[in-house]
Symmetry: C2
Subunit: 402 residues, 2 copies
Amino acid sequence: MPDGTMSTGGGPLTVGGLGEAGILRILNRRFAAVPASQDWPEGTVGPGDDAAVVAAPDGRFVITTDAMAQDRDFRMTWPAASSPGATAATRAGGSFAGGYATGWKAAAQNLSDINAMGAEPSGLLLALTMPSSTSLAWIEGLAAGLAAAVIHLGASRCRVVGGDLGSDDRITLAVTATGDLQGRAPSRRTLSVGRQDLPEGSDPGLDLILSGQAGWAAAGLDVLDTGRDELLRRLEAAEEAGLPGVRRAAALAASAQLRPRPPLGAGQRAAESGALAMMDVSDGLLKDTGRLAAANRLHAELDPEWVQAEARALRPLAQALDRDAEHWVRAGGEDYGLLAVLPAGGSAGSRLPAGFRRIGRLVSRAAAETAGGEEQSGAETNGGPDGWDHFSAPFRSRPQIR
Amino acid sequence: MPDGTMSTGGGPLTVGGLGEAGILRILNRRFAAVPASQDWPEGTVGPGDDAAVVAAPDGRFVITTDAMAQDRDFRMTWPAASSPGATAATRAGGSFAGGYATGWKAAAQNLSDINAMGAEPSGLLLALTMPSSTSLAWIEGLAAGLAAAVIHLGASRCRVVGGDLGSDDRITLAVTATGDLQGRAPSRRTLSVGRQDLPEGSDPGLDLILSGQAGWAAAGLDVLDTGRDELLRRLEAAEEAGLPGVRRAAALAASAQLRPRPPLGAGQRAAESGALAMMDVSDGLLKDTGRLAAANRLHAELDPEWVQAEARALRPLAQALDRDAEHWVRAGGEDYGLLAVLPAGGSAGSRLPAGFRRIGRLVSRAAAETAGGEEQSGAETNGGPDGWDHFSAPFRSRPQIR
């Protein structure tokens, strides 16, 4: 039991009786589990002051922020040990209600953005608003999950450097991450000008490569959205019908949704290998390859054979849940893989960085219209079935997890 | 009318039909008004990528974040031109609903934290969640107010470098600010060890100094919380009773609440003048001087004569509203003045930096008990009447502006 906690009439312990100082004690104790927290270099300042001071060895730093709202970007009821997605990590988070997965995801999606700039994470800040009825278990889980993601994703030089607490009727959190650069930061728009202005129909010779998986987090959301009894019934029926490994696939998919694993370090490797542009895949391959292409006035084509191969391991689970495995792969978000552009394979400049696979290519617009590949719109169109837009029309009024 | 906006059945225009790209266009056009946005130095990256890249000339950077929730930290109904607090700046924000004041405050309180570390603001990030029913006027106001604060507070090297949009039932925003350092960053705890361990009852010789005003923002909240008709009635009655300048004081107070003016630059000046510790005053002088003292195992005493003098200009307004002007000065938050500690006056080391006034001193604990001054608790006690704690017990269930 944390120091200073108070019972509120026999119900679950809540943050209401703790005061800001008490809540900060709980958070800071969990954040101290992050290895780099043991060492604050000369000239840096950690939490507890008006602002933190963070080292920027390159004379620049990378920074990103993401907001998450209750029932939109996370669920209070996200499962713990008893779910089909139970793994060692889930069981460790079992007493933390949905907070553990929420903290993990908040850290992971921000660390992924740092990775996508070819940088190494250096700091996290947590701005949190919540009602006084928020359970201590949830807040302990949030902090533990956030620290666990930093540790298990390998962000070994990253610390929680600050934050802010506020009260509200619902929980929202905004995590900010910073990172160190070493050399150039390939953005979404760094394809050389010469390549952008190719004649229509010509092939710019640009491969799309991916580190990390695609479709598993979306499959996991479908697993988590299926009622427990219904899920067990469907998995049993699938096993009886001879579909192999559906239980294990369901567990892996839930884990991919609750504890996504962006391939930290892949950004730096790709940058060193000559990647011309990079971005992380948060809203699905179709949407995000389309954005990357559009930023360079090109079109993206996913290799249909790669999509089929990537969908293979998901197919039995998709069948059990009446879903389409290839749709998960093409349109499913939140896997936080790293997408990059590399000069096309052949004799020169085509060395694939470790951990990456070729998944398609960028083509000029006219080429896209004649190619037999999987054509996509590069425009920032409505989310619809092909990816996620928070404010697409018609606005989705029911809670949605992007 | 912004490009691409859509009417929703004749009602006010909302963000629901715009999509993320449309909302981003509105925000980015407003943020482009910030002077530094015209120039992104080589090697830096602005909004539109996975993350931004910001220069850190000192090899370090300062960073802080603050969350604000609808009806807690800001109000949708914050007034525009027709209020008694109308000034040129308010009238400029008149068509923006409450968004303008919200954006200004969000920027101001974060820039204030950067100032309190002796740094110069370099970047802002905005993480925003909102319902699809949010009016375009509000969001335009938010962006315009944020940009206006950067411009009018003199953060001339600060840009909006990134952000994030999400949907939620209510509006929350989390602003992150970064800053450049030149030399040391006086924190709250940088008093030298020798001074911390003085014998009980001895005088450590440390003056409390303040740049900026105290009490006006709290007075402004009382002005804004008084119904319009009631306020006009009270102001007229006060004028008839011969109280001088109450209308003007009400306007200045409302402006202090809606558009606080942290003294940017004062942090760097104080650091150069040998300030030993600094922090900004967000939760009121009593609470914040208490925190600064407690961080150094000392007590804070406000000079009663200074409090009386500071309250003088607020007294007629306080009388009109049946409030206590000295309580506004001592306990009122959100003026975002800069508090610093300087070696006590005399021959050596006592040069007051420009814009600062001496408002009290730090004393050892035993000295505090015998001194006749205004004694305060250094402990992080309940907010109560002496300052604001978001999670004080009992939790305040009615909307409160800190």
